[in-house]
Amino acid sequence: MSVIECNNVSIRYMTGDFKAIGLKEYVIRHLKGNYHVKEFWADKDVTFKLEKGDMLGIIGSNGAGKSTLLKAVTGIMIPTYGELHTKGNIAALLELASGFDGDMTVKENTYLRGALLGYTRQFLDEKYDEIIKFAELEEFQDYEFKQLSSGMKSRLAFSIACLVNPDIIILDEVLSVGDGAFRKKSGDKMKEILDSGVTGLLVSHSISQVRELCNKILWLDHGKQVAFTDDVDHYCDAYEEFLMTKKLPKKKEDIDKLAADYKIRLQKEEEEKDRKAAERAAKAQAKAAAAK
């Protein structure tokens, strides 16, 4: 069986009047017939399948339904229609730094977060030092959490979440945590986890990151599935061109055309760059000659 199987998953989101209106207002609006709830499909008919060791990159512009899909995989949301099966334990790294308690110390927060993520006390007792060391917060253990800088908060969150060896890992724009040194370290840790045969889902706006890490991609646009493929480079080319032209591909040929256009554009840009570089070199030479 596949590690993640997602069959025709559609997720409906509700929005409209019901948010933040009180009971009194609710009753009055109902009486007046002035109560409207809009629904929209955050994801529509999404189908994909991941085997052990697969790394799926989910691409698409804002509001494409990427985060909603990830929430469904973690079990925070359930599909309105369709089926979604996952196998094994999931580590989800979604908007890491929120949900901590500012008045509690770093140590207390570490234990609380660990408990929320489903770790056992034994496990945390064993790993606590490692977490703190990895987050480089040894001197801050008894500080109140609100006293930390936002970089430190993200570092701690990342360290807690990454410590387990999950079967499925979910990354939502989290590979850019902390300062340069920590980013490198977290990137290495991530690679180590990925190399251990974990199945992953990655949402990233950095296409080069997707190209580097993923062996499959899922392209969403306004909730609809444009493509699910293992031809990563080809489709990334097409996607980058799509970001420029905003023309949504409908058929396979459109994809090919977009990818081809992208190559042409890339080449043009290269040429342009070369030309500019040559120009600059010529100018510098002329200057040097004049100075002589």
């Binding site: 933040a20 009180g22 009971l23 925070i76 979604l94 949900g99 308690d101 609380l112 056992t120």
Partner: protein, 258 residues
């Protein structure tokens, strides 16, 4: 059965950590914190005693115990349900990111109210002793109404916390409900003046039912009837059932409102 035990074990650690957090949030590490939460109902009791014992007290034996029984149960119910109401909304940042059972937040909130109740209960027994109440083993039966109140509090807490997600003005409406509840729970007056039918109507109020249990067993030294026990159980069960169903139905819908 094995499954349930396994699940409990799994969430025990989370529960402990949440309780710890709630205590720290509540008392902000101050020593007076916990003392204050016992002192405040005692002050209320004192004021009530001074005023109402002049009004009704001279006609009633063991008026202090009568008053304290009402105050004890009512203030536990109030504290527990009011704290419980915000438990979902206050933790929305957590459960919209991490998949955890949402009722855990309510359960942990209930612990601090229960601890307060336990401490006040000790004071209650001391007062009873001063009031000349004779103690006997059948008073251990009090554990039954206490468990029922706990059930009622959790059930009502579930209902309220879910409704608070949907309607934020519930907080103010519930304050009104609590004020009314204070008056219909016969905390400081006796229901003897009412007709037999009127007295039966009081039994529609679960808080009064539990208060009466305390009074019957402590002051009158009698054990309530089997039907009365069933009534106690009924209120706890029905509120837990409704609350549980609301949570089950909306488990994933809460997300839309936050």
């Amino acid at each position: 059965m094995k499954k349930i035990i396994k699940k409990c074990k799994k969430y025990q650690f989370l529960f402990e950590e949440l309780v710890k957090r709630d205590f720290k949030q509540k008392y902000k590490r101050s020593i007076l914190g916990m003392g204050w939460s016992i002192l405040s109902p005692l002050f209320t009791l004192l004021v009530m005693y001074v005023i109402f014992s002049n009004l009704f007290g001279h006609k009633m034996e063991h008026y202090v115990t009568y008053l304290f029984s009402g105050q004890l149960v009512l203030s536990y119910y109030k504290e527990s349900t009011k704290n419980g109401m915000t438990s979902l909304v206050n933790n929305s940042k957590i459960f919209t990111k991490i998949n955890v059972p949402k009722y855990m937040f309510l359960l942990s909130k209930n612990v601090s109210a229960l601890v307060n109740f336990g401490l006040t209960l000790v004071v209650y027994f001391i007062f009873c002793a001063f009031d000349g109440i004779t103690f006997h083993p059948r008073q251990f039966l009090l554990i039954f109404p206490i468990l029922c109140i706990l059930g009622l509090n959790i059930g009502v807490g579930l209902i309220l916390s879910a409704m608070f997600v949907f309607f934020r003005d519930i907080r103010y409406l519930y304050d009104i409900v609590l004020t009314l509840l204070t008056y219909v729970s016969a905390v400081f007056y006796s229901v003897d003046k009412f007709s037999a039918f009127g007295q039966r109507l009081f039994l529609l109020n679960p808080v009064y039912v539990y208060i009466k249990y305390f009074r019957v067993i402590m002051i009158d030294g009698l054990v309530p009837s089997l039907e009365y026990h069933l009534l106690c159980l009924f209120y706890a069960g029905i509120s837990l059932l409704i609350g549980g169903l609301i949570y089950k139905k909306n488990n994933h819908a809460f997300l839309y409102y936050l």
